[in-house]
Amino acid sequence: MVLAGAWILVAIFVPLIAPYDPLAQTSLLTHPPSPAHLFGTDELGRDIFSRVLWGSRLSLPIAFLLVVAAVAVGAALGGLAGYFGGWVDEAVMRTTDFFFAFPTIILAMAVTAALGPSLPHAVLAVLIVFWPSYARVVRGLVMSLKQSDYVSATRLLGASSLRALVVDVLPNVAGPVLVLATLDLGNAVLLLAGLSFLGLGAQPGPAEWGSMVNTGSQYFEFWWMGTFPGFAILSVVLAFNFLGDSLRDALDPRSSWSVQRAARPGAGGGR
């Protein structure tokens, strides 16, 4: 959690921390790490440390927006499918089936290749790849929650189906979805970087980690060029994974709760 927080702070304050302009080229070409350039310089003399820091400005907000969009689309469609069933459900499910038939990377690659390699297209590709999982999850949750007594109760009190869905079901779906979304932030960063690494996303130039690793792989003897951006990706993904895990634990019954349950053996009678 601390790590994730740190990265977010970096992304916000980067103009103040980064010692160099990420695009500024110096004369120190492919210089190994030194006190002046902590991570060394790349083939155009740009400071890698600064570029790594600036990369967070690119990757983090995009990943965040990506996940939010995927959740929005997936939850909306999944919620409607789960609650209303019938043909709506069929339509949504068959669509998600179609997307699930393809391995994630392949699909993302196909979309970007078709649209033309660029960062915006890569973002769209990741969105397309991510939303079906949310649709599935939300649909499942909605289907089980709509049977609950409190939903029945609210319908008896005069609520319309839609109101029951929005006011009663969805807030209870939010928990598990939030956990998934947080874990997915790491995945989004990874997938985007992966696409850029393959040359299908961000093109070399702006400081984007994936493309930096790509360039670095071409200049293998200058190990610092690819390694540091790679570590950045690793640490961000790990950070969000841990965050997601902590969130899941926080939302789950805590040990004190389960001890309380053990200490209060079932109230009264009842079958």
Binding site: D149, Y150, A153, R155, L156, L157, A159, G268
Partner: protein
Amino acid sequence: MSLLELRDVEVEYRRVGQTPLRAVAGASLSVDAGQVVGLVGETGCGKSTLARAAVGLQATTAGTVLFEDRKVSPLGRRARSRKEARLQMVFQNPFSSLNPRRKVGDQIADSMAILGLVPPGKRRERVAQLLDQVGLPANAAERFPHQYSGGQRQRIAIARALAAEPSVIVLDEPLSSLDASAQAQVANLLKGLARDLRLGLLLISHDLAIVRHIADVVAVMYLGLVVETAPTRRLWKAPMHPYTEALMEAIPRADGSGWLPEGLPGEVPDPAHPPDGCRFHPRCPYAFDRCLSESPPLIQVRDGRTVACWLHAAGAEERSPSTFAKRASAVADQVDRV
């Protein structure tokens, strides 16, 4: 004129690759204003299904359900109207019948907003009033359900139902998951509400003993059928159906006397394959030949009582089987599945 009337209601479930299950095979009851009707039965008798059918959460396969003289339609896409919402339900499990993520006050005020019963400015006051009526402090409105015990949550559920200004409330085992103390408190509350607000209550329970303290009229169900109905006092004085008699004899007494209650032989049969003739005959101590082949209809006997048993003829005097009927010497143990 009864507020809630169920006539020959049947509920059958279709199952894939199996025989259909008739959870309710023909039940009739009615609830008047200010009257508490207790529906008692054990596992597999269909009482919960009947309760859900009574409010429209479950569709009926036959028979009619009338509320305030209008047919109750099963809950579909369409939202319930104000008139339809005068029929409310309180569920068995107080832990799942309240939305864990919404404040208590908001949930109680739901019907006021949806049905337009109370203008926005007055809602807080009304919620406080309802909480007071069920014996909870006004600040409960700002809290969440998980901060309350089972008994308190049940009261919140009752307050929520009352907010819709109902004339009849169906309660599905409202006391089952509560401690003895909470049971007594909620039981007294319900009795008071029925009396003070002239509410009709249909109370479903497996506990005959506690129903005795709350209900005016008791209906006993066995394997999908109502087998006896009577005013509470008369039922306890002289149960007419052998099953009712057995139910009473099975209730333990907490007096330290060491008296062990008598149970019933065998087990409740699978509702999908009920016995021929009278459904109770395999376990009945008084069964005779007619019981094996013909199913007794629910008939009127004296003093506003009904019973479905070949031991009693129409218009008969009220008397329990143990006082006059012959106990069969060997009763075959009904073994259901194995």
